[in-house]
Amino acid sequence: MPSWPADTKYISHSTQRIDAVPKVTGRARYSSDIQAEGWLYGMILRSKWPAAKITKIDLQNALKTPGIKAAITVREGERIVRFYGEELAAVAGATKEACLDALRAIVVEATPLPFVVHETQARKEESPRVWPDAANASAGRARESGDVDQAFGECAVVIEGLYTTPVQLHHPMETHGNTASWGEEGVTAWSSTQGISSVRDGLAGALQMEHSQVRVITEYMGGGFGSKFGAGVEGVLAARLAREAKAPVRLMLTRFDEGLAVGNRPSSFQKIKLGAKADGTLHAFQMDNYGTAGIGGGGSSEGGSGSVDIPAPYIYQVPNTRVQHTAVAVNAGAARAFRAPGNPPASFGMESAMDDLAVKLGMDPLELRIKNDPNPVRQREYKEGSERFGWKQKYQKPGASAGPVKTGVGCASASWGGGGSGYTQGEAQINPDGTIEVRLGVQDLGTGTRTVIAVVAAEILGLRPDQITVKIGDTRYPPGPGSGGSTTCASVSPTVFDVCKRALEELQKQSGIADARGDNWFAACKKLGANPLLVHGKWQEGLSSSGAGGVQFAEVSVDTETGLVTVNKIVAAHDCGLIINQNTLESQINGGIIMGLGYALYEERVMDRLSGVLLNPNFETYKLPGLADVPEIQLVLLNMPERGVIGIGEPATIPTAAAIANAVANAIGVRVAGLPITPAKVLAALGKVPPSTSPPA
C-alpha cells in the first residue's frame, strides 16, 4: 500500500495558487472570453409562458435581421413548454446587438396552459398538473425503524415543528455557456463546466457524433457549485448554431437566464416530531417532508441529481424513526446538484429541532449534541470549536440578552461522504531540459485543483511547485472525474502521486541516477538524451478516504426593532484529512460558510403564483452576501494525515445556516422556522408584524 511522505516541504503547507497571476492580471481566458477566429455571438429565446402549447415558431424575420447568420428552433414541430424560461429558439450573429434585434423578431404562436408554481398549491389534487399523466405530488416509500408511535409515548419531552427551506439558485459569477467551433475533426467546445468529460459525452449524444469527434476545453471557468455538469440545452444550441452558421459561436447565458433553467436547490417543508428521554437521549423521530425540484422529480433534470430527499435524522442516531419524502412537481426550472445536495436543508431542519428540544428539556444545546452525536471526530470538533468560540461564556438562555439588539449563539454540524474516484488517470512528460508537464483531464472550478496537482508533484519529485507545468481542462488529457461531491482533491492527489512515483522510478532507471529528485533532477533529465519521458499513472487505493465532519458555531446580533440579523462571528472546526494546501483549503471553507450565510439570511427563488414568472432573476432582488455581510471567521483545521486526502468543499457549507438560525432563535427567544431569516420573518416571530401569507398554505 502506498503512503504519503511524513516529512513534507509543500504538502500540508501553503503554496500560492499557481494560476493566481493569470487571474489577477486578466490574462486567464474563461470560456466566456474565448474569441475564436470569426466568432459570432449567440443568444437564446425563452418561453414567456410558464406552461403553453407552442404551435409555431417563425424565424424568417430573425434570419433577415442584419448581421444574423443562423436561427434555429430547439425542437421541430409542436411542443409543450412547462416553465417560464424554457428554451425555444436561438440565434447567432455578428454582434450582441444584432442578436437582441433578432430575438425580438421571432414570432411565437402559443396557447397558454394552466400552471402552478408553488409546491404548497401544486400538491393539492385540484391543482393543474405539470405532467398530464402523473399527479404533481409523488410520495416516496416511508423509511421506518423501531416502533415510532410507541416510542413517542415513552419520551419525556416531545417537540414538533415545520422547518422550511426555499429554492436556492446557484448563480456562479460566470454564467453557463460555451464557445463552439467546428473543424475537420469535429466540434470543439470551450465550456464553462465542472465536467469536461460529461459535456463531451452529452454533446456527442445530442449531435449524434462519436466521442472522439468532440473536444471540450475548460481552461478557466467561473464557478459551478453543482450546476455545470452537463452539456445543457445551451451547449447543444451553441454547437448547432456554429454548424449552421459555419463559424464559431459564443453563447453565454444572461444573468436572467441563469435563474431560470440551469438548476437550483430543491425546497423543503420538513414537518418534524422529535422526542427524547429526560436525560436528553434521543428516542423517537418522525419526518414528513415535501419539496420541489421544479418540473422534474429531480432525476430527469439535465446535469445533476437534484432529488428532494434529504438525510434524516441527519447526523444523529435515533432508535425509532419514520421518514417520508414527497417530491412535488411545479412549473419551474428543474433542480440540479447543488453543493452538498440534500444536506444544508437536512442540517437546518434537524439542528433546529435539536435546539427546540434542548429548550424544552432545559438543556444546553451543545450538551444535547455531545450526548447524541455518535461520531468521534465531531466530538473532538465540539470540544475544540466551542473552546475557541467561548461557548460556555457566551451561551445564555433563549431571549436572555438585554436591550433591543439581542445577541445569541448557535451550533450545528455536518457530515459528508466524498472520497476519490478510482478511474482518475494522469500522465507526466519529463523533458530532457528538466521541464515537466503533468496532465489530467480534470478541471479547476476555483477550488485550487491546479495548485493541488503542482504541490503533490513537487513534493514527490523534490521540485518546487512553480517548476511543474500543470495541464488540465481538456478531454485530450487522460480521463478524470467531474468536479463534484468534494471528490476532486481525493481523486487527483493519489493519481498525481502515482504518476510522479512511476515517472521518478523510470527517470532513475533510464538515467542511472539513484535519486533523481531535487538537486539531481536536471542531471537526470539530461541523460534522457533526445527523447522526453512520458509516464502514465492512475488513482491508487490507500492515499485518500471518505467521510468528513464539521461543526460550526455562530454568534449573531438581532435588532428586534428592525428585524435585521447580523452575523458577528463564525468558528468552524473541520476535519481535513491530510491537508494538501492550506491556503486554498481555507478559501474553500470560507466560501462554504459564506454561501451558507446567504442561504440562512438572503437567498430565495421567488415565483409569482399569478403569472408563473420568476420574480427575482437578478442580483438586485436575489441577494448574495457582500463583503460587509461577512463576519469574522475563525477556522480550526484538524489535520489527520493518517486518513489520507478527503474533501472539504461541501461539508464546509452544510451547517452554517442551521448554526445561524439557532443563534437567531437563541437571541430572540422564538424560532424563525423558515429560511431565509428575513427581517419580516424576525418581526413576525416577535409578534410585531403579521406573518406573511406567501407562499399560500
Binding site: S32, T254, E586
Partner: protein, 215 residues
C-alpha cells in the same frame, strides 16, 4: 463622478433637450406633442449618431483603441467583444455584480452601464493595465499572496474597486474597504481574503486566526 464629455457626438445636446422638455412639461404642461416632435427633429438634424456603427476611439491602458461600433454598445462589450481585453467580466450586465468594474479617470465604474461612446476622452484602466513591465501592482500582489480569489471571475472587478479606493485613500479602514467593495459580488466566498489583501495594501494587515490541530 463627472459626466462624460460627449458633446462631440451630439448625445449631450439631445439629453439636455429632453431635460428641458421634461422641466417645461412639469412647470407649464404646455409642450404639445407636435412641438416636441418638431423640436426633436431639429435637434436630431444637427447631429445624429447611429443607429449604425460609428467610429469610436477609446483611451484604454494608455493606448488608443479605435473601433467601429454601434452607439448602443456598452464600454464593457466594446472591450470584451471588439477588442481582446476580456479582463473585465460580464456577470449581470446591469450594475449589480461589479465584475465589469474598470477605472474611468481613476474612478471605479460599472463598464456595463457606460456606453463606449460616452467613455471617449477619458482615461480607461482595465485589469490588464495594472501590471507595469510584468510587475504586478500592489493590489494584485496582495490578492496573490492572500489567496483572495478562487474561480477568479469576480477578481478583476474587486481589484479595480480597491485600486480606485487606494488611489483616493491609501490607508483605508476595514469599513472603508467594505464600503468600496459594496458593489462587487463574489459567489465563491473570497471576501475574507479580499479584506485581508486590502488591509495588507493599507499597511494594516491582521494575522490569520486559523489554527491547525494535529492528532
Amino acid at each position: 463622478m463627472k459626466d462624460a464629455n460627449s458633446d462631440s457626438f451630439g448625445v449631450q445636446s439631445r439629453r439636455t433637450f429632453f431635460k428641458s422638455v421634461g422641466t417645461a412639461a412639469v412647470t407649464a404642461a404646455a409642450a404639445s406633442a407636435q412641438s416636441v416632435a418638431a423640436e426633436l427633429e431639429k435637434v436630431n438634424a444637427e447631429k445624429v449618431i447611429g443607429p449604425g456603427p460609428v467610429p469610436v476611439a477609446l483611451n484604454v491602458n494608455g493606448a488608443v483603441l479605435k473601433l467601429q461600433i454601434e452607439p448602443r454598445v456598452t464600454l464593457l462589450d466594446a472591450l470584451r467583444n471588439y477588442s481582446s481585453l476580456t479582463g473585465a467580466k460580464e456577470g449581470c450586465d446591469r450594475a449589480a455584480c461589479g465584475a465589469c468594474t474598470v477605472l474611468l479617470d481613476d474612478v471605479p465604474i460599472y463598464s456595463c452601464q457606460k456606453l463606449a461612446i460616452e467613455a471617449q476622452g477619458h482615461a480607461i484602466t482595465t485589469v490588464e493595465g495594472l501590471a507595469k513591465d510584468g510587475e504586478l501592482s500592489n493590489v494584485q500582489k496582495a490578492f496573490v499572496e492572500n489567496d483572495a480569489l478562487m474561480c477568479g471571475y469576480c477578481t478583476p472587478g474587486f481589484i479595480m474597486s480597491l485600486t480606485g479606493l487606494l488611489k483616493k485613500n491609501p490607508h483605508p479602514t476595514a469599513d472603508e474597504v467594505r464600503h468600496a467593495c459594496a458593489g462587487n459580488l463574489c459567489r465563491c466566498g473570497t471576501q475574507p481574503h479580499i479584506l485581508q489583501a486590502a488591509l495588507q495594501c493599507a499597511g494594516a494587515a491582521v494575522a490569520s486566526k486559523t489554527e491547525v490541530l494535529h492528532a
